[in-house]
């Protein structure tokens, strides 16, 4: 199906090749995962499969790429669109039209298919992806998972033999990601479509794949069956690491597979129920105190009687399904929305009657998309703007110290938009904490970041926590919660469903729990280390 021989490619502005001497063969019907840190060449490799590289990007290329016997480099993406369907990362930036069925038909219109045939084909695709219910809906009203499935539908409408997906789930919450992966898997198993999927987070994807390719700096480092490659990687999902330590064989790739081994070990899987406790604390001992907060849009309640506490030096994770009001709560805290009732105290002062700008001098709030914050010509200027906005007299040292803390000293004069996602996230973080607030609100701060970028951010937050800053994190990233959060607040239907210590709460909510917690429902373990130490304790 795919044959790549000695492929080397350099971007027009690149100083070194993005891909170096890559050779690869993929058989028809295979499901191949391409993984690696950001900048390792995953996207570039995928774009070579339909000719977007080099036809769209320019640059120097050598070697051969054959897909289904077609010479990709010679023919280019427009011709290859018949044989290769391509799905991109962002669900928002790949739709041409606003209506689901029209969007799916766009590719068919481009090749001049007859209307009757087109209607049949669209109906087929809708059925295959479970989208019949939304066929007439505008795309802007769909959820992220539905939109990404529409993108897949648009990609397979021309009946390609190969489906290529570039990080299709990195912008989605876990539930939506699962839907998308199941849809892709169905296409692979039932229709026999060859699938090549790039990702930087392997968790939850391994069971679907036949093969795993690990890239680093434009080279293929590992290439083989999933169990063989995964054990060689530096950052494997927790279940794998545990299984390796315990020597389970054959290697379980998911929590469900791993459970078999635990049952064999004769463990009892029983959950104990922990009653959620509501804490009562005077405002002056807290960074953030939310009391009986209620908020609604057009008469529809979003938040009802929410109570929440964050103490200095404490990290609290706010979890819940999409649309449950997590971001709304953050926006209420900083005064972007005014709640219908209830009160918010920041550092012992009520936010009532204070302007957003005033509140945000005491609260750092990092919104979901860091790019919304960046507009200046240099990183240093970007941070200086916030100081000027607040009318705070900041010296050059203030900024330099912060940049050093964020690991951005060398990039101080760079154009912010040129930086990598992880670096941009750190610049954005800098712009909201330069006033040294006592409380930091983070909205999905690790979305779309690779392991390395995530590790650096966590280190920064841990330092600030030690210095007494309070953190409120809205996230779906369960491993981040396991590593950082002291307590978890679960929001459901606009109300606080449960709150308590991370290890005590998560076992009751498997959808928000890390793999290890799900694997041992009765225990209060979050990480591989927890599981290993506790078990050795018991065995000793």
């Amino acid at each position: 199906m795919i044959r790549i021989e000695h492929l080397t490619y350099t971007y027009p502005d690149g100083s070194q090749p993005a891909l170096q001497d890559v050779s690869l063969q993929i058989a028809a019907g295979e499901f191949v995962l391409v993984a690696g840190p950001s900048g390792s060449g995953k996207s570039t490799l995928l774009r070579c499969l339909n000719g977007l590289v080099p036809h769209f990007s320019g640059g120097q290329i050598s070697g051969h790429v054959l897909v289904g016997g077609k010479d990709v480099i010679a023919l280019g993406p427009t011709v290859l669109s018949r044989y290769v369907g391509f799905v991109f990362q962002s669900p928002e930036a790949q739709a041409v039209l606003d209506e689901v069925e029209a969007e799916i038909a766009f590719g068919l219109e481009n090749v001049g298919m007859s209307p009757e045939k087109m209607r049949k084909r669209v109906a087929e695709v809708l059925a295959l992806l479970n989208l019949e219910g939304v066929r007439k809906r505008p795309l802007s009203t769909l959820s992220g998972g539905e939109r990404q499935r529409v993108a897949i539908g648009s990609a397979i409408a021309l009946r390609p033999r190969l489906l290529v997906l570039d990080e299709p789930t990195s912008q989605l919450d876990p539930e939506a990601a699962r839907q998308v992966m199941q849809a892709v898997s169905r296409l692979n198993r039932q229709v026999g479509l060859t699938v090549v999927l790039a990702t930087h987070r392997l968790e939850g994807m391994l069971p679907y794949a036949d093969r795993l390719i690990w890239l680093e700096k434009g080279r293929i480092i590992h290439n083989g069956a999933v169990p063989d490659v995964i054990t060689k990687l530096p950052e494997a999902p927790p279940v794998i690491r545990l299984a390796q330590k315990k020597g389970w064989y054959p290697l379980p790739l998911s929590v469900a597979e791993a459970r078999q081994f635990i049952i064999e070990e004769g463990r009892r899987l029983r959950a104990k129920f922990v009653q959620p406790v509501t804490e009562k604390l005077p405002p002056h001992e807290t960074c953030l105190l939310v009391q009986n907060l209620s908020f609604g849009w057009n008469g529809r309640p979003v938040l009802r009687d929410v109570n929440l506490v964050v103490r200095p030096g404490e990290a609290v994770a706010l979890m819940g399904h999409n649309g449950v009001g997590k971001t709304t709560l953050l926006r209420c805290v900083v005064g972007l929305l005014s709640p219908q009732s209830g009160e918010v105290w920041v550092n012992g002062r009520s936010v009532n009657g204070r302007s957003v700008a005033e509140i945000c001098r005491d609260v750092g709030y990092l919104p979901q998309n860091p790019d919304d914050l960046l507009f200046a010509e240099t990183v240093r200027e970007e941070i200086a703007v916030t100081l000027r906005n607040h009318g705070v007299h900041g010296t050059i040292e203030t900024i330099d110290n912060l940049l050093a803390e964020l690991g951005l000293s060398e990039l101080a004069d760079a154009y912010p938009r040129d930086l990598s996602v992880g670096q941009r996230q750190r610049v954005a973080l800098g712009t909201v904490v330069v006033t040294r607030p006592g409380l930091l609100l983070l909205d999905e701060p690790t979305r779309g970041l690779d392991t390395e970028a995530r590790r650096r951010l966590i280190a920064i937050w841990q330092k600030w926590l030690a210095e007494g800053m309070g953190l409120l994190i809205v996230t779906h990233d369960v491993e981040l919660v396991a590593r950082l959060a002291h307590r978890v607040v679960i929001l459901a239907d606009g109300q606080v469903a449960a709150t308590g210590k991370t290890a005590e709460i998560l076992p009751h909510f498997p959808q928000f729990a890390p793999q290890i917690t799900r694997l041992f429902p009765g225990q209060h373990w979050l990480t591989v280390a927890d599981a290993l130490t506790s078990q050795t304790d018991k065995e000793v």
Partner: protein
């Protein structure tokens, strides 16, 4: 040859369009028999024909997906900025749509500028419910705003570039009002020293129009002109910077050294 013809097409349709705009000045002086009531409709249609020819010619050079996507997105952004106009009214006839059109034409060239101008007006009319016989006039005038921006000098320093663009913004601020008024001026059919009247000769018509313009529009248009200058002065430099960065990526065309183009053609027609 194609280049020459293309330029000729631009010139002829530009002249013809201008003639349509200026119709009130020379039309009635020649004859009394023309039925003045049908003229507005007819002139709208004539302008549509001009636009059709121009768009056909502009589309002639195959437009890449990048240009199409870029145009669509810029038009969307400008249309959204126009909503702001309603929320935060500026002085007089100020409208934030001209600065982006001028800047786009300046950096991306005449073709892009014309399309950007004409299509921006079309889209904002479609989404705000402003479709009417005035639309071809607006599209034509705004298209020329973008087109002429490309003709401005392109000095090296960004500050000088912003200076030239500000001049263009100032001039077009008044000019746009001046020629858009022409569209409805004869239509307003009053009978005084300020209004259009059939057959009074172009001198008289001109002096009437100048009087009309001074009385009704000067202050209004001054708002637009100064607004353009302010907006370009404020955003010109960073926007030129951003546009230039994207220009290389947008205009890039892959030249395939390995395969003949004929191969591509042959393959695309099979299946």
């Amino acid at each position: 040859m194609r280049k020459l013809l293309s330029g000729l097409l631009f010139a002829v349709s530009g002249l013809a369009g201008t003639a349509v705009f200026l119709a009130p000045f020379f039309w009635p002086q020649l004859t009394q028999s023309a039925n003045p009531t049908t003229t507005p409709l007819l002139t709208s249609l004539l302008l549509v024909i001009c636009l059709v020819v121009l768009l056909l010619e502009l589309q002639g050079e195959a437009i890449s997906a990048r240009v199409v996507a870029m145009l669509g997105m810029l038009v969307a952004i400008t249309a959204v900025l126009r909503f702001l106009e309603v929320a935060f009214p500026g002085p007089g006839g100020f409208s934030p749509i001209f600065a982006p059109i001028l800047l786009a034409g300046y950096v991306f060239g005449a073709r892009f500028g014309f399309l950007m101008g004409a299509l921006t007006l079309l889209v904002s009319a479609l989404v705000t419910g402003g479709v009417g016989p005035w639309l071809p006039y607006q599209m034509f005038a705004a298209g020329w705003v973008g087109l002429t921006a490309a003709w401005l000098p392109h000095p090296d320093s960004t500050r000088r570039q912003v200076f030239w663009l500000s001049i263009a913004g100032l001039v077009w601020g008044f000019l746009y009002g001046l020629i858009m008024n022409l569209y409805f001026w004869p239509f307003f059919n009053g009978d005084a020293a300020l209004s259009w009247q059939a057959g009074v000769g172009w001198r008289d018509t001109l002096s009437r129009y100048v009087a009309f313009y001074l009385v009704t529009s000067l202050v209004w248009d001054a708002g637009r002109a100064l607004g353009n200058v302010a907006l370009i002065g404020l955003l010109g430099a960073p926007v030129i910077h951003i546009f230039t960065r994207f220009q290389r990526r947008m205009m890039f065309q892959y030249v395939d050294k390995m395969a003949e183009r004929e191969v591509v053609r042959a393959d695309s027609t099979t299946d």
